[in-house]
């Protein structure tokens, strides 16, 4: 009897976790299915492909994690792509021909700097009462301008060991998959634990869910907001560093940043985080980011021409979201 009830508890608990993280699981399964499909489409699927997929997804995964944290705390950041540009530009400009030690110092400083910059953005949003989307739209111009000013044309570089750290190879290609996979798992886990297991993380959920209630409950709304933007900024800086590691150069083009921002929002939504804030797990976002990066090569391997691939990608996102919407509707009607 005692055993029984414990079993029920465990069962209920599993059911609870499943129902609450169902979307996250679903996205990971979708990624898995796509990869298996892909592996069967191409002549050989081995370490090269695994490394390729994991390292190439890094920048978007970082950016999407950052966006996820900000969205969970009730914001949205259209400047993340521009911050990626800025980080990429500064890194490439100042890391070129530097020894590893200096490169690491620059990387750490850069993460701190951009975290501060974006934390400031979060503070301005609280202070001014201007909606997040507007403030970050404006700052996206400012950061892109700054990136272009620092690195007027593509170029610069970084230390080979630094490239190895993110890509598993000093040349940026064909290395071991262990490092890129670790570089994906570690930050994702850290962000996940931070968001679910610490008070600061939970207060981000709280503020995103209802900032009035959060302040009634005695939480620092401004602190949570600023922290979410700072964390998002730090992750955008990391994305810029990953970019410099993968490409070995800096590229200050506005369009690259804008494109990255839109992808990060798409990954967040696909990853199961509602743009209304306060809900969702950041882990789904990792798979969603990988899907968005890999979809193009996969569709091409399926023999789909790029225009149709473009259409298909849009349709896929829309349909996934429609299924989500319908599911919510049906749940509401039934329970």
């Amino acid at each position: 009897m005692n055993r029984d009830s414990r079993a029920t508890v465990v069962f209920n608990r599993t059911g609870l976790i499943l129902s609450r993280s169902g979307w996250t699981l679903g996205v990971w399964l979708l990624l898995l299915a796509l990869l298996i499909w892909y592996a069967n489409l191409i002549p050989r699927f081995g370490e090269f492909q695994i490394t390729s997929i994991s390292k190439n997804s890094l920048p978007l995964v970082y950016l999407a994690l950052g966006q996820a944290v900000i969205v969970i705390a009730g914001g949205i950041d259209l400047s993340l792509g521009a911050l990626l540009l800025l980080s990429n530009a500064i890194a490439a400009r100042f890391m070129a021909d530097q020894p590893l030690g200096a490169v690491v110092v620059i990387a750490l400083l850069l993460i701190g700097l951009i975290a501060c910059l974006n934390g400031m953005t979060g503070y301005v949003i609280r202070l001014s009462g201007v909606p997040d989307i507007v403030v970050t739209l404006a700052t996206s111009y400012i950061w892109s301008g700054l990136a272009l000013w620092i690195l007027p044309s593509p170029g610069g570089g970084t230390a080979p060991e630094f490239r190895w750290l993110f890509t598993g190879s000093e040349s940026g290609i064909g290395g071991t998959y262990v490092l890129p996979v670790l570089m994906m798992i570690i930050p994702a886990t850290v962000v996940f634990l931070l968001s679910r297991r610490t008070r600061l993380g939970l207060s981000m959920y709280a503020v995103g869910s209802d900032s009035n209630i959060a302040s009634l409950a005695g939480l620092g709304v401004t602190r949570a907001k600023v922290a979410s933007y700072a964390l998002g900024g730090a992750l955008a800086a990391l994305a810029g560093l990953a970019t410099v590691a993968i490409t070995g150069t800096g590229d200050p083009r506005f369009s690259v940043g804008a494109n990255a921002t839109l992808n990060s929002v798409a990954a967040v939504v696909l990853g199961g985080i509602a743009l209304t804030g306060g809900t969702g797990l950041v882990l789904g976002v990792v798979a969603a980011g990988m899907i968005l990066i890999m979809l193009n090569p996969i569709l091409s391997a399926m023999g789909i021409n790029p225009n149709n691939a473009q259409i298909l990608q849009g349709v896929l996102i829309a349909i996934v979201m429609m299924i989500g919407g319908l599911a919510a509707l049906i749940r509401e009607r039934q329970t």
Binding site: F48, P59, P154, T243, T247, G248, T249, N296, P297, S300
Partner: protein
């Protein structure tokens, strides 16, 4: 020095006779020039008779996305890759990895510095220099001109700006009264042109390819035309022909997307073991309003305004002019 790849090839003695698979990587969707480039690649592949399949990957993105696409093409086992690179150096590692696997890699439109890669580009410095020289000459060596550039920080724009400045150095009496960035965007360029021609005395305009919207603004503002330099856009060529009576003087400088076909032709040559030169740089041609026959020859009345009219590039291309390119058919399609 020949790269390792050549060595690998030597031990399958008999050279392949065709049946190639060509991968194409592009990172700008919906851009007319790039679309025409892809069509030129397909048309040349078809015309060559040596290619079985052209696999195109295309999306909006930067070097990171392009690396993912290139590695995808490598995984698919293509024989050659033609890419319009997003970065001069950032793709080198993956390009060199492809070459190491025996894949022929041709960078078109923009150069890459990867060892062993083939490069086929239009000479952007010359593009600007030739056009600017024509303009300054037409103005009699003195006057106020506007430089309408592309996107700040993009290598092609930097090269063109350098070419423009080279030409300018020889004409001390030419004054650049304004220098704008159109972002290669027609509506932005149109607005800037309108702002400038309605407020300033201007004797000539050099554009980095946003040309027909600028000509259009003279009509909007109801101002007399000034000499203008543009690219070989069909719409601009049509204006040069049609508006000559109304006093339009101008020059179209070629910047052919058929560079994609050139790259294809080089790739096939390389696959056949013909060892083509690693660098091919096309020097632009200038078609000015005083050369009506030349303009008429490149004008393609059935094509869209953004169509680059200069499609046949001897000795590289084998298709049958604009019609084949515009059909945009890869082998087997």
């Amino acid at each position: 020095a020949l790269p390792m790849a050549a060595e690998e090839h030597t031990h399958d003695e008999e050279m392949p006779e065709g049946g190639f698979v060509i991968g194409v990587s592009n990172t700008l969707v919906g851009n007319g020039w790039r679309e025409q480039m892809i069509c030129a690649i397909k048309a040349e592949a078809t015309a060559s008779g040596m290619v079985d399949e052209v696999i195109v990957v295309n999306r909006n993105g930067g070097p990171t996305e392009q690396i993912a696409d290139l590695e995808g093409l490598i995984s698919q086992g293509v024989d050659a890759i033609i890419l319009n690179p997003t970065d001069r150096e950032g793709l080198n590692a993956v390009i060199e990895a492809a070459i190491a696997q025996g894949i022929v890699v041709v960078a078109v439109d923009q150069a890459v510095t990867a060892e062993g890669a083939y490069v086929a580009t239009n000479d952007q410095t010359a593009y600007a220099r030739l056009g600017a020289e024509w303009l300054f000459e037409t103005l009699g060596g003195s006057g106020k001109v506007v430089e309408m550039r592309g996107i700040d920080g993009v290598p092609a724009d930097t090269d063109r700006h350098n070419g423009f400045m080279e030409a300018l150095a020889n004409y001390p009496d030419i004054e650049v009264v304004a220098s704008t960035f159109t972002g290669w965007d027609p509506s932005t360029g149109a607005q800037q042109a309108l702002d400038l021609i309605t407020t300033q005395e201007i004797d000539g305009i050099w554009t980095s390819g946003i040309d027909y919207p600028v000509v259009e603004q003279f009509q909007v503002a109801d101002k007399p035309f000034v000499p203008i330099v543009g690219a070989d856009n069909n719409g601009f060529v049509a204006q040069l022909l049609d508006l000559a009576d109304e006093g339009l003087v101008g020059a179209a400088v070629t910047n052919p997307p058929a560079i994609g076909a050139v790259g294809t032709s080089i790739a096939i040559d390389a696959l056949l073991g013909n060892n083509p030169p690693h660098e091919t740089i096309l020097t632009p041609k200038v078609f000015a309003t005083d050369n009506t026959d030349g303009l008429n020859a490149i004008y393609a009345p059935d094509e869209q305004v953004g169509w680059s009219t200069y499609v046949d590039i001897e000795p590289f291309t084998h298709y049958n002019g604009s019609a084949d390119v515009s059909a945009c058919k890869a082998p087997g399609e």
